[in-house]
């Protein structure tokens, strides 16, 4: 047994988190900043933060993750990190020549109260920021929220710094994406193109974190939302924000600053959330739903009906970020599956009403917990009490899967023990088919293994 000390007897905890289902803000800010073209993320704190975030993002995406750090020492922790940040800004522009440096803070620089706006102004006053280049920032105290909050804060920071309303409305639609894989962002762009809607996607990590092998390391790969588009986002006629936790704040900021109205929707995971996304695209883009999209939807429905007998009534445990869990739960319910256990370490009081709505009349059959002590240890204890048929979540389900012999679909962040996941989407109708294929595939493999002595007929 790998998690041999986990038992089903639940003792109340108020202070101890065991096997968390969230991590800290700055990593989200770093990921979001990588979705901006020619942008170098910068971590204002100790070296370790930057090193840990780069390592974790690298392990997930299997791509270079470039970012700077202010390399705090004991002295800077006492006297403030201004000197370190100024030096870092100067060094990064000189050595790595980004168009944008996107600074996020850490628990260290937040606790001592470094004022990034003031330090950036000083850098500008001292001519450390070359003409036409930008230094942007957001505050990401690690002791508030989760990695999703950090992502949301950086996206909001990006919008606040760049979007401009020039008075001339364009026909474009902004799509602010929650934290998904580069392949998902690519899929969102593809679907929009298929629909004939001209979008600005922000952030956009496709072609950044799935860059091709060419024999050359492009320090700034070709992808990422461009500064031109970030500015132009202020003239778009509408914004579609995909995921309340990751994008709502940015959508509000964009509306406040540039009067671009927004619609808040879920990430298009599963059938009905994708339907809503497609409807939003049609409505705000002023287009009809494309035939090709109808075909895609039809193919998904076809796969669902083909698979229904295997999915019906299956108990599922899922964990991860609220923006993933809500549409995913809705989809599982649509499939007549039972999402019985749901855990998210990310706080936010909207979680309960939203997940209840997604679960519909099944809500009372589901055990869910979010925020403090909503962790993988608790999830495992629930599973020990009454097992499930399928696990869906990030890498940290693997030991539960092995100990309890439960099929496991890796989805979300981080996935450290698989390669290739960032190349195929989970969003859209196609993404839903992928989820079904993966779920049924691993369930059947597991069934076949346990029935090795008694061959089954499929």
């Amino acid at each position: 047994m790998l998690l041999r000390h986990t038992t089903k007897e639940i003792k109340e905890r108020n202070a101890l988190t065991i096997n968390p289902a969230k991590t800290c803000q700055p990593i989200g800010a770093m990921y979001a900043a990588l979705g901006i073209h020619n942008c170098l993320p910068h971590s204002h704190g100790s070296q370790g933060c930057c090193s840990y975030h780069r390592s974790t993002l690298t392990r997930h995406y299997k791509e270079p993750i470039m970012a700077g750090t202010s390399s705090f020492t004991e002295g800077s922790s006492v006297f403030g990190g201004q000197a370190n940040l100024l030096q870092a800004i100067n060094n990064m522009f000189t050595i790595y020549d980004p168009d944008i440096i996107a600074i996020h803070t850490t628990c260290l620089s937040e606790t001592i109260g470094d004022d990034i706006v003031q330090i950036t102004k000083k850098a500008s006053d001292e001519d450390m920021i070359p003409l036409g280049k930008h230094v942007i920032h957001c505050n990401t105290p690690s002791y508030v929220g989760s990695h999703v909050t950090g992502y949301a804060n950086m996206v909001k920071g990006i919008v606040k710094y760049f979007a401009e309303n020039s008075g001339e409305k364009s026909k474009r639609i902004n799509i602010i994406s929650g934290w998904v894989e580069p392949s998902d962002m690519r899929e969102i762009k593809r679907m929009s193109k298929e629909m004939g809607v001209d979008i600005i996607l922000l952030p956009d990590t496709s072609d950044v974190l799935d860059a091709p092998q060419t024999g050359k390391h492009a320090f700034y790969p070709k992808g990422g939302t461009t500064v031109t588009d970030l500015i132009a986002a202020g003239n778009s006629k509408h914004t579609i924000a995909l995921g309340e936790w990751a994008t709502k704040e940015a959508a509000i900021a964009l509306e406040n600053k540039c009067k671009v109205p927004f619609a808040l929707s879920e990430l298009p995971i599963g059938l009905r959330a994708t339907d809503r996304f497609v409807q939003a695209l049609a409505k705000f883009g002023g287009v009809k739903v494309a035939d090709t999209i109808n075909d895609e939807r039809g193919r998904l429905l076809d796969v669902i009906t083909d698979m229904h007998q295997y999915l019906y009534g299956k108990r599922v445990a899922l964990w991860g970020d609220p923006d993933h869990l809500i549409p995913l739960s809705e989809f599982l319910i649509d499939l007549d599956m039972k999402p019985v256990y749901i855990v998210s370490g990310t706080p936010g009081k909207d979680f309960e009403p939203r997940i209840r709505k997604a679960l519909g009349d099944r809500a009372d059959e589901t055990r869910f917990k979010y925020g403090a002590q909503a962790d993988m240890y608790l999830m495992h204890q629930w599973i020990k009490e009454e097992p499930v048929d399928l696990l869906i979540g990030n890498t940290y389900g693997k030991y539960i899967s092995r100990d309890e012999n439960i099929p496991f679909v890796r989805m979300g962040f981080p996935i450290l023990d698989r390669i290739g996941h960032s190349y195929f989407p989970f969003v859209g109708y196609l993404g839903a088919i992928r989820l079904l294929e993966k779920s049924s595939g691993c369930s059947w493999t597991s069934r076949m293994r346990s029935a090795r002595k008694r061959p089954l007929n499929w």
Binding site: R4, P20, T73, S76, S146, G215, K216
Partner: protein
């Protein structure tokens, strides 16, 4: 000059090219950390100094060195991170320390303690930062005890802890008294020191203060040793444990691969400390010599020759003809097997260039393996080492202690009134030394390297890219953060932190694994397929066309 050594071209040109890019002050500082090795005259290299903000470094923090490296591989202690969630999360199962948990009782289905797959954190929130986190820490320790009943709990401080002034040591003492188990804390905030290295030192101090020497009933044996600075990445410790068993050596404890708190507590009963990673663990070797009278020697079980040499050194120390005979037989048998593989592999590897920038000992140890593969190391350096790891321990008295190092506590240790016992008489020690046996010594990386090989401390990303571009090595060894950038340049990167999920690479079994792994990496044709037939040079088009 040693026959294995090469006289490389003076790297002044590339050094100049690298430095040109930097702002003046940065260039001046970096220049001192980039040295062309001189086999005739020892050179000084700047190391263990602050990383320049914004240069993109490999380095991590003190917490990573303390919790992640030194205490991470110990299975029967609850390692509780006191701070916001991230630090605990990122050090959760990421160093690939394996452990082998024997059943406590053969009739019992419940296995022994192993908390390594778990992550424990106080997950501090803003109100804890404002009002202090000591109460939450105490409660978290109680909850951990209530649920798991461990024999020990250790607490690791993250950046905000020192700033808000939580006294983790006081809380640990109170918890120890209340719960009747060993609870101890580390002030390993990430901002201390200049790298992970500070964390190793803090961990060494804490282990000696709170753990070593608490249990006098260690296992009996004729030849009792501790292995220091071995972290069981990819199962290295399992190979070495097996080796010791075969040789009749009693391994009291390993710091800290596949280790237990109980074994640490008994470490003072060993008669020899063998130091593998000098950087991370030399402090405790020194302190154990002063406190308990255990001499230490530097050894290296990475590489066939190095393993043989280290085993012989150990045998000389114990001065026992039966042991020496066993060691010789063991070496003879295993050398033959390794040589068979080597002689095949070397056909692919011979003459290809290697580079390694990693750790505080690995960038040295692995040069032994590359020598056996007949791959010259053109450039190397450490991520967090000190001058003595490069230049040898003789430079120790001359190293200027700067403010960052002074901030790391030096604990004063004296001979234990009951447990101090010299393992050899002064005459015996002198006798061994007169025969060239070296106690408490480490030569450093540079003594082994070729003339004009480039030695770079705390290499930056810019320097990494320039080196790869300039030297076009056949293989680059570093860590996960460097891996994909270097590979995008068409050069395979071997991770020497996590072993790319491979290993073990220690001992003779490891040697064979490593030979084959490098053969795979430098022998594959995959890198030549990067260009599509319509993009490449004519000969590549031809080759691909023929295969189709």
């Amino acid at each position: 000059m040693d026959s294995k050594k090469i006289n490389f071209k003076d790297p002044a040109e590339i050094k100049e090219e690298i430095l040109q890019k930097y702002p003046r002050k940065v260039a001046m500082k970096r220049a001192k950390s980039m040295v062309a090795n001189d086999t005739e005259q020892a050179k000084e290299i700047q190391s263990n100094v602050r990383t320049i903000p914004g240069i993109i470094t490999q380095r991590g923090c003190t917490y990573a060195g303390c919790k992640g490296v030194v205490l991470g591989p110990t299975r029967d202690v609850i390692n509780l991170t006191h701070g916001p969630i991230g630090c605990g999360y990122y050090s959760w199962l990421t160093r690939r320390n394996q452990t082998n948990t024997p059943s406590q009782d053969p009739n019992d289905k419940i296995d022994g303690e192993n908390y390594i797959p778990y992550c424990f954190s106080t997950d501090m929130q803003d109100e804890n930062i404002v009002f202090g986190g000591e109460k939450k820490l105490m409660e978290a320790i109680r909850e951990a005890y209530e649920i798991f009943k461990p024999k020990a709990i250790s607490v690791f401080s993250t950046c905000p802890i020192g700033l808000i002034g939580d006294d983790v040591h006081q809380v640990a003492r109170a918890a120890s008294e209340e719960l009747g188990i060993n609870v101890f804390g580390f002030s390993c905030e990430g901002y201390r020191g200049v790298s992970q290295s500070a964390g190793h030192h803090i961990a060494n101090n804490g282990l000696l203060t709170h753990v070593v020497g608490r249990n006098d009933n260690g296992p009996e044996g004729k030849f009792k040793v501790n292995l220091l600075g071995e972290y069981n990445i990819g199962g290295d410790a399992f190979v070495l444990e097996q080796m010791f068993e075969e040789l009749g050596i009693t391994l009291i404890s390993t710091f800290s691969g596949n280790s237990t708190i109980t074994a640490f507590e008994q470490a003072h009963t060993a008669d020899l400390n063998m130091v593998m990673c000098h950087r991370s663990i030399n402090y405790i070797a020194e302190m154990m010599e002063t406190k308990y009278g255990i001499p230490w020697i530097k050894i290296n079980f990475i590489g066939a020759d190095a393993t043989a040499k280290s085993l012989r050194k150990m045998a000389v120390y114990f001065d026992d003809s039966e042991l020496s005979a066993k060691v010789e037989a063991y070496i003879g048998k295993n050398m033959e097997i390794a040589e068979k593989v080597r002689s095949e592999v070397v056909k692919t590897t011979k003459g290809k260039l290697a580079m390694m920038f990693v750790g505080g000992s690995r960038a040295h140890h692995y040069q032994d393996l590359f020598e056996e593969l007949e791959m010259p190391t053109i450039a190397a350096g450490y991520e967090f080492a000190h001058r003595d790891d490069y230049e040898g321990r003789q430079v120790l008295p001359g190293i200027k202690v700067d403010a960052d190092s002074r901030n790391i506590e030096e604990i004063s240790v004296s001979a234990d009134p009951e447990r101090y016992k010299p393992r050899k008489t002064e005459e015996q020690m002198a006798m061994l030394e007169s025969k060239g046996f070296k106690f408490s010594d480490y030569e450093g990386m540079m003594a082994q390297m070729s003339n004009n090989a480039l030695v770079i401390d705390d290499i930056t990303h810019w320097e990494t890219e320039k080196l790869v571009e300039y030297f076009q090595p056949a293989i680059f060894c570093a860590g996960i953060k460097e891996k994909y950038a270097v590979q995008k340049m068409g050069v395979p990167l071997k991770q020497l932190h996590s072993y790319d999920y491979g290993g073990p690479y220690a001992g003779f079994e490891g040697v064979i694994n490593f030979y084959k792994e490098i053969e795979r990496m430098v022998g594959t044709k995959i890198w030549q397929l990067i260009k599509a037939p319509w993009q490449g040079e004519p000969e590549i088009v031809g080759t691909v066309g023929m295969e189709i």
